[in-house]
Symmetry: C2
Subunit: 387 residues, 2 copies
């Protein structure tokens, strides 16, 4: 497949496909993907680029020239999928509308990621992840009720729309096996985040409620929250009456189990703040996380420490799960550790097969093998700075 | 495909597949999916269940009985995919290990979602979404630096692991077209959230930094933040020097453009807090969101209002994008509005084909058509309360 995307959303889409065996050819402009300059840098090269573009091949192509466009057309004729995340309309202006793509390759699957989608009044507006987080309602339900809205730390608008496009591409490929027909896929960051708002949306559309921010509390379960320990913080949830009773025993407050204020989950939700939270935190703040984990998780109650990025990255569970891959990056000149694939296929390789491509690294082989150019033609394109 | 999942993660996975044409048979226990009791309720029935299970068929099966197991085996023999999100080991104890599934159907694709994955020291621990948010590092980078960590509002650990499993299933189906072989898929909530932490992780693994919470600021771009207006709040980002200069003109502060403290993006990042933020907010708080949108978005600068759930749900852009589907739910007895699919396939239907199934609704047709039971056999199963 041809990957004309850059930055995060599109390259994250094709990363998943490349990780599981797709032959992804990254097509960069003469100056390269903008994220080649993004930190963290190591030895002057972007580890960000190295992470998100592992397992891909790379060519460079000047799509403003006629020869560059011709090369792209010849590539499109011989691939299954094309995807891009240009501003809406840009690829079409370059001469590559869906109709044109279908002329070149009737079975083509063409996927786009954009901020607001290909139609609607906002289609042509620029979008950042934070704009999609703001407009989807996500920020309005993230944070503490007495404080300003806050975005989710990771750029979910970017990475989730990339993941949805990857899913759409795989659906379209499988459907094509049955129908022989290609597909036009259109994923928007705003749609994406709206679609993962779960019961917040139907609370409004069905019950007329407008949910707000609740910190770490679940409106339907109590106790379910974050709490302070002597040496850090943790989360815990008692989703059943049995967990609640077990928890009361752990904290030496069997008297709470049958207290009318806390007898059922509905009672506990109603009376959680401020009293029950205070009882729990007065207790938990006397213990270390190690002690609390032994007591709470030991009793089978869902429990998790709030880990920082270092602690999470060094977690034994994630090591066993191979969630960090080691890859030698030739540009950086060192082995770096980058997040692996979360889709575990048993019996398959679970590692990076190759490092991210240097700019134009595979110009010659890709143009020869996939587009059918001769070495002489490729030499001429090089001399003219088309590639 | 057979869907033995319940609650949110698994049903969200199969919802995406059902939305795009997969024949999903939801297999429920005698008491039904736990989310049949989850709010919001309407006319005594769960709109949550109705939302997440549209487009699926449903049967009821007591897997604790030998006749129930036999029926499941006969179904497995005739489907492409089986997925479940039981506690790790539960499905195997019921007699359905992957090896057993392969005996029944050598081409089967078998997917599981769990909190921590099928192996590793935490495999058997119970997990809630918030536990995965805590342990992945996500909470440590969400919120304001001077305040407690906070989880992202939506349950990304659930819905994203469901989306990853849907992607894995489609990859495996497509690969099977080439290889003829099935697949064992294993997706964990913790892996999932760790995998979407983007540059936070490589900042640590490559550069040795441990990123913390930064509210709505992007560490690499300034100004890029949320701000107060006269009548609400909005986000805005100036990702280029041109946007910055345009913005200075909008606020009537051309003098800032070339001030040494703000000349380059690096300067602006360094000197954003507290001074530049105060300058912007002193200005923005004099205007309404309507006025600010006209000025800022009108100049082509990425801008978004922070919308609440009602405002987001009523957004014209999302209406045009068909991000809310209307479906008549027979249990509720009314038309309800539920979030649609974010994967837009042009020229395909973009609506719910059918409502969520009532408990056991398709027992007879599914057992007859897919498992090959006779009506008499099905009558007997009914009489024995196996279905």
């Amino acid at each position: 497949m041809l990957d004309l995307t850059q930055a995060y959303s599109g390259p994250f889409c094709t990363m998943h496909l490349a990780d599981h065996g797709a032959e992804v050819i990254k097509v960069e402009s003469l100056s390269g993907d903008q994220c080649r300059t993004w930190g963290p840098l190591k030895n002057g090269h972007s580890a960000y680029y190295a992470y998100i573009n592992r397992n891909k091949r790379g060519i460079r192509l000047d799509l403003k020239t006629e020869r560059g466009k011709e090369a792209l057309r010849r590539l499109i004729a011989n691939v299954d999928v094309v995807c891009e995340n240009f501003r809406v309309g840009t690829f079409e202006k370059l001469g590559f509308s869906y109709e044109k793509l279908k002329e070149i390759n009737p079975r083509i699957i063409y996927g786009s990621i954009s901020g607001f989608g290909l139609d609607g009044p906002l289609a042509h507006r620029p979008c950042y992840d934070i704009v999609a987080q703001a407009m989807s309602g996500l920020m309005s339900v993230t944070g503490y009720p007495d404080q300003d809205c806050v975005k989710a730390g990771p750029s979910f608008g970017d990475n989730y729309s990339g993941t949805y496009l990857a899913l759409g591409i795989c659906m379209a490929l499988y459907q094509r096996e049955r129908t022989g027909e290609g597909q036009r896929l259109d994923v928007a960051m705003l749609d994406t985040l709206f679609s993962v708002m779960e019961n917040f949306i139907i609370s409004y559309t069905v019950a007329g409620l407008v949910p707000g921010r609740m910190g770490n509390i679940d409106p339907g379960i109590a106790p379910f929250d974050s709490f302070h320990a002597k040496d850090g913080a943790f989360v815990m949830g008692c989703g059943t009456d049995r967990f609640w009773a077990d928890f009361c025993r752990i904290i030496g407050r069997e008297d709470l189990i049958d207290q009318p204020a806390y007898r059922t989950n509905v009672d506990r939700c109603r009376n959680y703040l401020p009293e029950l939270k205070r009882v729990i935190e007065d207790w938990s703040s006397q213990y270390t996380l190690d002690q609390l984990e032994e007591m709470i998780a030991g009793a089978g109650i869902p429990f998790g420490r709030i880990l920082d990025v270092r602690q999470a990255s060094e977690l034994e569970q994630l090591r066993v799960r191979k969630m960090l891959w080691e890859v030698y990056d030739p540009a950086i000149g060192e082995v770096i550790r980058i997040p692996g694939s979360p889709i575990k296929m048993h019996g398959r390789g679970d590692e990076a097969r190759s490092a991210a491509p240097s700019l134009g690294q595979d110009n010659r082989t890709v143009l020869r093998e996939i587009a059918g150019y001769t070495d002489e033609e490729i030499d001429a394109m090089e001399a003219e700075h088309v590639i």
